[in-house]
Structures are given as C-alpha cells and as structure tokens.
Amino acid sequence: MSAVDVPPPAIPAATLAALDKYKAGHKDTKVVVLFKSIGSAPIMKNNVFKISANNKFHTVSAFLRKQLGLKAADPLFTYINGAFAPTPDDVVGNLYDCFQTGERLIVNYSNTQAWG
C-alpha cells in the first residue's frame, strides 16, 4: 500500500489492441487430429477428426473418452507422435504447429501407461 494514492500506470491503447489480437490465438483455425490406439485400447472406426486449434488438449482427451465410451474412472493415457504426453492445458494449435506429421497431429491413446 503506497502512502500517496497514484493511479496504476496506463497501458497504451495500441499495445492493448495488439495484446487482444494475440489473445485470439488460433481463432477460426481447425487442425486434423489422427487417433491411433496402442496395445489393447479399443480401435476407433473413424479415427480422423477436425478439431478447433484454440482448444486445450484436455478437450481432445474428453472427446476421445466420449468416442471410446469410457467412464470417468477408466484410465486413458495420451501421447503425441508416440513420444511424450502433452499437458492438459497445451493448446491444440501449438501442438500441431510443433509436432504435425503430414499435416496431421498424431495422438496415440492407451489404457495403460505406454511411454511414461
């Protein structure tokens, strides 16, 4: 608490406008996600989907659970390119930009831990 009340310094309007533009992120973009099962995880009939790039990865996990008819308590492990587990709050568009193969983001799924 300061002795004299000074209003907080103002951010220039142009800077805030720039921030708003970057906050929109991958708005209106969709990416193709290819789901691949590992081990004894059920195989999907249709395993290619277009997903909004601004979604967080946990949306993809929730979508996948629904597609596979899993209950909340059923284990589901997801990986990118069969190599590492993404964070639930990773942005799908970022994952696509960094790790796409042949214009698709490959998401492997398993009901047991595969690549820890």
Binding site: P8, T15, Y22, I80, N81, A83, C98
Partner: protein, 312 residues
C-alpha cells in the same frame, strides 16, 4: 572449443539454478494475526514441493485442530494476487515451476518509469474449492513429477524430432532430473540435464542432419532443428509455442528477431511497447535464442519467456 563452452555454460546454468523468488503467501478468508508467511524459494522448484513447509509454518498456526483435521491438500489452491493490476487474477497451476508463477505475477503489472523495484511474489492460499478442471494437474508430487518428465521429453522432441536422448538415459540419470529439483541438488539434476540439454557451441556446422552413429558427438544448441521455448502473454492469453530456428540465414537468431517474427505488433519498435522477461530478468535484445535456451532454461529444459507490457 566444446570444453570452454561447457565450462561457461555450466557457470550460467548454475547462476540460473541459484536464482530465487521471495514469496509472500496470504491465507484467504483469515483475519488472525499470523495469516501471512514469507519464504525465499528457488525458481526451479514447484509449489507442491513447498507445501509441507507452508503447511507447518502457516496453515497449522492459523487453523485449530478440528479445522486442521478437516482440511485436505487436494482442495488447496493458490491464486495470484492481482491487486493494483489492470488484469484479472488467475489460479496457479500445480505443474508450473515457481519461475513461471513469478513470471505471471510480473506480467500482471506493466513496466513503468515510476516502479519501485522488485516486489515479492504475492500469492493467496485458498484451503477449499480448488478449480480442478482449471488446474489440470493435482498437487501430488507423483503428478507433478510425471508432468515434469513429460515436459523433458517434449523439449527433446522439439530439439531433435525424437526422444532418443531421453529414452536412452539410464533410469538413474533420468530420475536424477526430478530428484535434483526435489532436493535442491544442481549436480544431481545435471546428471540428466547435462546429458540432454545441448551446449551453445557456435562453430558447429549448421543444419546438416546428424546420423545416429554420431551420437557420441557433443550436440550443439545451434544445430537443433528447433528450440523448446514457450512465450507467455498477460491477461489469460494461451502460451505461444511454435518452431524456433536457432539460425536465421546461417547466423544465430537473436531474441529481438524471434520476437519481431512472433509478436510483430508488440516488438516492431524494440522494447518500447513490451519487454521479454526470463528467470526474473529483462533479456537483452541481441542475445542468441539458442544461447538463452541452453543457459537459461527451466529445470525441464524449456525456456519460458514472459512478455511484460510497458505503461505510458
């Protein structure tokens, strides 16, 4: 060459490892005389690792025995104190390293000519109502460690297009990465990080793909296909993560070049509208991004840069 770079890199990695954050933790909804707690903690650590200390020195002093028996750490959560900020506060994620928590707090307040120097990181500890879907990772050491190892692998994939350097580690060396963070042991952590985070060796031939039989050769950060960098913006914007080439037209990519390309509207006039912060300091515009990624990365190998807006 490699030996000289190794020793200077070690110096800067050790400096980044020694950096700390002064924390000021306030208990939400408590009016007693001892509802504040101050602690100095390393930037590489995680709040989940500090919970036993915070419990002992703050929560146990404030709550009576009944309330203490009822409280569960799975319900606890930290909130950034956004007093005096033009932006709203946010829940602190358990999988964020403390450095990132501090970065988010730093971005809450725009840089201005009248600022009074560094302030402690102010957090509010709530003992109930954790927003589970927002937090994504629960406050258990097991969950935070699993996330840490995943981030180590993801960073490796960003650098080389595979995770062979991590999966090729001996189990004890991989475990040493997290154990070094948990016990505050730099050398232990380096048993992992020193084997997978490449050195910034400038003379390394650019972009020639390295066949697998050359695995004994020391990797250079300048030869990586991309650098593991996450850029954060204030006001709840999602992190920016995209391929970052260590070289541009055969020369090292500078930080300003990278920022101009990634956030042109904020960096077209140098640092006049916004400033990049990492490990608590303002980064110089002419620094090589490959050097920054090699020397100033978090314990999981990611360089985290926060964009602080500049006030009028």
């Amino acid at each position: 060459m490699a030996a000289a770079v190794q020793s200077s890199t070690n110096l800067f990695r050790r400096l980044a490892w020694s950096a700390t954050v002064p924390l000021h933790i306030r208990l939400a909804d408590a009016g007693g005389p001892v509802d504040h707690y101050f602690i100095q903690a390393p930037r590489y650590t995680y709040l989940a690792l500090l919970l036993p200390t915070i419990r002992e020195h703050l929560v146990e002093l404030v709550l009576d025995d009944d309330a203490l028996a009822r409280t569960s750490e799975s319900e606890w959560w930290f909130e950034l104190d956004a007093t005096d900020s033009p932006f709203g506060s946010d829940a602190v994620r358990w999988h964020w390293p403390l450095d990132l928590v501090d970065l988010c707090a730093c971005m809450l307040r725009p840089a201005s000519a009248t600022e009074s120097g560094p302030e402690p990181l102010r957090l509010i500890l709530h003992l109930t109502g954790a927003p589970a879907d927002k937090l994504a990772v629960p406050p258990t050491l097991e969950a935070v460690k699993t996330h840490f190892v995943s981030q180590v692998k993801e960073a490796d994939f960003v650098r080389w297009g595979n995770t062979r350097r991590v999966t090729g580690l001996r189990r004890t060396d991989l475990e040493a990465g997290w154990d070094g963070v948990a016990t505050g042991d730099y050398d232990l952590h380096q048993r992992m990080a020193g084997r997978i985070v490449p050195l910034p060796i400038p003379s390394s031939p650019p972009t020639s793909p390295q066949p697998d039989r050359d695995r004994d050769k020391v990797d250079s950060a300048y030869a990586a296909r991309s650098l593991p960098i996450k850029v954060y913006l204030p006001d709840g914007a999602a992190a920016i993560q995209a391929p970052v080439a260590p070289l541009t037209d055969g020369r090292p990519t500078t930080l300003l070049q990278y920022l101009e390309a990634t956030l042109p509207l904020l960096f077209e006039n140098g640092y006049r509208a916004a400033q990049p912060i990492a490990q608590g300091i303002l980064l110089p515009p002419d620094a090589d991004v490959a050097w920054l990624a090699a020397c100033m990365a978090s314990a999981d190998g990611w360089l985290r840069i926060g964009i602080r807006l500049v006030a009028e």
